[in-house]
């Protein structure tokens, strides 16, 4: 027993010493992988930036940027995409928040089914989705096995097509939106919070506005920003539905211009970074709250 006790600490000390060595010395492998990873992301971005600054021969300048921004089509398509993104985010929130809430509260058995549905966009490519939508909604939709008309053809009207693309975007953003909202609700134990609020006399509207939404704000924001990024860069749905959004514009521009698409690509990178900065800023205090619970 005594010999065991005296010999036991030796390997433990050795491993501690080894750990201190790697910490104090140079952790070669960790840094190597980190640098390789960073290069993988930074190099293409740097190349794009570098290229976008060389529109004029032998000088570094912002000409590609001014040229790209000067094109009225840029402003129009980008504005249109932002509008679609905002509508998509709002409808997604209206759809996802009550659904996730109700599943947490009353229908935990439905979670697997809903999670499966929200993951479908990862399995079914956007091209299949858009062909399916066009096939179904370009002719009138009838109640199955009857002649009762439910919907006029959607693709023939502007409003209908816009509704279709927003619906498509909601589907594409669903994995991110649902998961972040559901995780947010689990973190704050929304079910017990609801019961606490109920016992204090609150009705459903009050609970939603004062308890649920403020406590999943961070989750909503991250879901919303990911949805935003998807919508602004999306090409397939917009092209096949024939809508003048930013994605197809960038794609077309790339086919007959060289520098401007690079400038615009870099600009969208910056916008995404700005968005992530906003998340960090807003989640600072909120994250702690959720973590402490």
């Amino acid at each position: 027993m005594t010999t065991q006790a005296s010999s036991a600490p030796a390997p433990r000390e050795r491993s501690r010493a080894a750990r201190i060595l790697t910490r104090r010395g140079f952790p070669l492998w960790s840094w190597l992988w980190f640098i390789l990873g960073a290069l993988y992301f930074i190099l293409p971005l740097y190349a794009t930036l570098d290229f976008s600054l060389r529109m004029e021969r032998d000088t570094i300048g912002l000409k590609a940027y001014s040229a790209a921004f000067a094109d009225p089509v840029f402003a129009r398509t980008f504005g249109y995409s932002v509008l679609l993104a905002v509508v998509t985010i709002l409808v997604s929130i209206l759809l996802v928040v009550p659904t996730a809430y109700w599943i947490r509260l009353r229908l935990p058995e439905a979670r697997r089914i809903v999670e499966f549905i929200t993951l479908l966009p990862f399995v079914i490519p956007a091209i299949i989705l858009v062909f399916g939508m066009i096939r179904i909604y370009s002719s009138p939709v009838n109640l199955p096995f009857t002649d009762i008309r439910l919907l006029a053809p959607l693709t023939t009207s502007k409003l209908g097509t816009n509704a279709l693309i927003v619906a498509g975007y909601i589907v594409l953003g669903l994995p991110y939106m649902y998961r972040s909202v559901d995780t947010g609700m689990r973190t704050v134990d929304v079910r017990t919070l609801t019961e606490a609020a109920q016992s204090l006399g609150a009705n459903w509207a009050t609970i939603m506005v004062r308890v649920v939404l403020p406590n999943v704000r961070t989750a909503l924001l991250s879901g919303a920003l990911l949805t935003f990024a998807i919508v602004v860069g999306e090409v397939v749905l917009a092209s096949y539905l024939g809508l003048p959004t930013f994605g197809p514009y960038l794609f077309l521009l790339g086919q007959h211009r060289a520098y401007e698409p690079a400038a615009l690509t870099f600009t969208t990178f910056l916008l995404t970074w700005a968005a992530m900065g906003i998340i960090q800023l807003v989640t600072g205090g909120q994250g702690q709250v959720a973590g402490a619970h």
């Binding site: 017990t192 606490a196 609020a197 109920q198 016992s199 204090l200 006399g201 702690q288 402490a292 619970h293």
Partner: protein, 352 residues
Amino acid sequence: MAFLSIQHATKSFGQAAAVEDFNLEIERGELVSFLGPSGCGKTTTLRMVAGFEVPTSGRIELNGVNITNQAPNQRNVGMVFQAYALFPNMTVADNVGFGLKVGKKPKDEIQKRTAEMLGLIRMPQLGDRYPYQLSGGQQQRVALARALAIQPQVLLLDEPLSALDAKIRVELRSEIRRIQQTLGITTIYVTHDQEEALSISDRIVVMSAGRIEQVGTPFDIYNFPKTAFVASFVGTLNQLRCTVVDAGQGKLSFDGQTFTATAPIRAAAGASVIAALRPEELHFGQFDGENQLTGKVEAVTFLGGIVRIRMVLGQSQITLDALNERKLTLPKVGDMQLVSFPPHACWVMADS
């Protein structure tokens, strides 16, 4: 007519009955504990009073009003949860004032009442803090203040101390009792911790498998358990399988030794029964008018205030608790010892 009356309440989830035919009358200002192991139906019963569960059958009346099917937000019942359930996005003061704000009370009244509640839980300086800046014990105090701020008719506490460490638990339970008695508020306290239930309750409802086993004061529950379950669940109990020698005289035979229990015994001579004894009623040595049994010391555990000694008597094990004192001589493992107890300390339970 009792202030809170639960009549024949039954709750089933699918085929499984969580609570069966629960009947209880609680007087105004009383603190009643629901005590039992996990899954005995105590929390389900509490949630029926809160309105989070609707009874499958039965009726619940509060102050003469039938609230069986009333929504939880219509009942004016304060609830404290095991997980605190403070709103993370609100300060302590906003949490405490939430129920009043929902009830559309004037601003100055909310402020006054919030300050009053924070004083009651002895945290008057911490109104501006957020829940994540508080310890578990402080969070639970705030949860208590929040539940009390709305001046509820009944206060419901669902294992409020389970998530806290032992020292805070003891402190907070006397704090809860003090506040409950100060306000004279009718309270139901759910716990699986018998010491907690014994120390703070006016009455205890011991539950098992969805049914009430016994209702009584802590003293009665501990000293006069009516069922084998209550006897073994509350406190430590020695159980000896004996044969009845003389039912009228209370004479029993155990492992070839004869002793006297509380008479009369409701069993015929020759029947096999269980004799029950609390460890603190047993002592070493020989005393006049007391029963004696001989056994072998198997383990001695020093617990500070008491010394717990496990002994083997024939085929059975018994536990003996001796009060600690500086002159105490601890028995040694393997010693043969004479154990004494008065006849009234031993009672016979129906063989289950």
